[in-house]
């Protein structure tokens, strides 16, 4: 049995750990609220741009654009969004596992795909496996503004235009609620499955022409899909970290309770032994 001092030390260190996890839980909770607000602020923009894109792309048959056409796939691009730091439960491993499985199934060699890794976890994972990481971004802010992300999205969409890859998928954790996040994969480019939010398609006049507008609109649409996924993933990250830290705090509490019991038992045993010794000593003197 462990000595009194050993148990006391373990209780103290567990208490300290639980203080840290508790603090991290509260930080994540407040970050999650703000990330959720950001994701909400983005919704009107996304809905509107989707509506207009759908109206133009579906409404006028004569409008065509390279981003609307599927071409033979020689290379596939994968955007993978993870966090920079761990301690968020299965948040990162789920996405990485999903991407890794898909790649193993679909591709035979490393030349058939390219990875755009966002977040240190994804960068380390894919580089460690020796896969073809063409863009890597670490240190994305907790509340990313569009201006910060624009370079990345422009580059990613641009590489589709100059045929670095012929299709583009995105993998990230979709925020369902504070306790559920699910891995989602979406095809971003080419934009073959645009659905309109409303049933009614408005027929627009184009100034100067539908083609000119698609040239501005489609890259902007594809870029906002990536930004939307990033906001979604940020909210998920904080939610996942909050849940993981809450579990850690709860476990620490259970452990402290169990340790307290054995501490008390050990202390009682020590007292009993002392009394027995004194009584024994007194009896020997008589």
């Amino acid at each position: 049995m462990a000595s009194l001092r050993d148990i006391k030390n373990r209780i103290n260190s567990t208490k300290k750990t639980s203080q840290i996890t508790k603090a991290m839980q509260m930080v994540s909770a407040s970050k999650m609220t703000r990330a959720e607000m950001n994701a909400k602020a983005f919704v009107p923009y996304m809905e509107k741009i989707q509506e207009v894109t759908a109206s133009i792309a579906l409404g006028s048959a004569d409008a065509s654009h390279p981003m609307l056409v599927s071409r033979p796939v020689k290379k596939t691009g994968y955007v993978v969004i993870t966090s920079d730091r761990g301690l968020a439960g299965a948040f990162n491993s789920r996405v990485l596992k999903a991407v890794n499985q898909t790649i193993q199934q679909r591709h035979k060699s490393n030349d058939e795909f390219a990875i755009i890794a966002i977040g240190r976890m994804a960068v380390d994972f894919f580089k460690g496996k020796g896969m073809n990481v063409i863009v890597d971004i670490v240190g994305v802010a907790d509340q990313p503004s569009f201006a910060e992300i624009k370079d990345l999205t422009t580059k990613t969409v641009g590489m589709f235009s100059d045929e670095t890859y012929d299709e583009l998928y995105i993998y990230y954790n979709h925020y369902v609620s504070a306790i559920t996040q699910e891995v989602t994969s979406k095809k971003i480019l080419p934009l073959t499955d645009i659905s309109s939010g409303s049933d009614q398609l408005t027929s627009y006049e184009f100034e100067p022409s539908a083609e000119e507008i698609l040239k501005v609109l489609l890259p902007q649409y594809a870029e906002s899909l990536i930004y939307g996924a990033l906001l979604d993933s940020k909210a998920s990250e904080h939610a996942a970290r909050m849940t993981a830290m809450k579990n850690a705090t709860d476990n620490a509490k259970d452990l402290i309770n169990a340790l307290d019991l054995s501490y008390n038992r050990a202390r009682q045993a020590a007292i009993t032994q002392e009394i027995t010794e004194i009584v024994g000593g007194a009896a020997a003197l008589e």
């Binding site: 950001n38 983005f42 009107p44 509107k48 207009v52 569009f146 027929s203 100067p208 501005v216 902007q220």
Partner: protein, 135 residues
Amino acid sequence: MKTIKVSVVTPDGPVYESDVEMVSTKAESGELGILAGHVPMVAPLQIGAVRLKKENQSDLVAVSGGFLEVRPDQVTILAQSAEQATDIDLDRAKRAKDRAEQRLNETKRENVDFKRAELALKRAMNRINVSERNI
């Protein structure tokens, strides 16, 4: 006079929402003025100011590209960034202008960075102009 609902939305959230009498702005193909009851239309915008005329005042919003969607009762401007005149950080815009000018002097004309610096300069100038209301 009849009014039309205008909203300016960016990925970071809505920037401006109000009922106005007239929207005037610079599209890729030239100046554009829109009153209530306009036919549905879509047009890409230049980097520039959007003027929103109300009864006896007019609001200014600086828009960095994007496009304009018109419906008979509503105008939506979708831009990757936009600010109302009062929200513009003038110092930051001036710094951005200096930076862009410096880069334009350093890089060669055919360089990709040249084009980028040119756009940055345009955006900065636009913000400064809107903020100082000299349009």
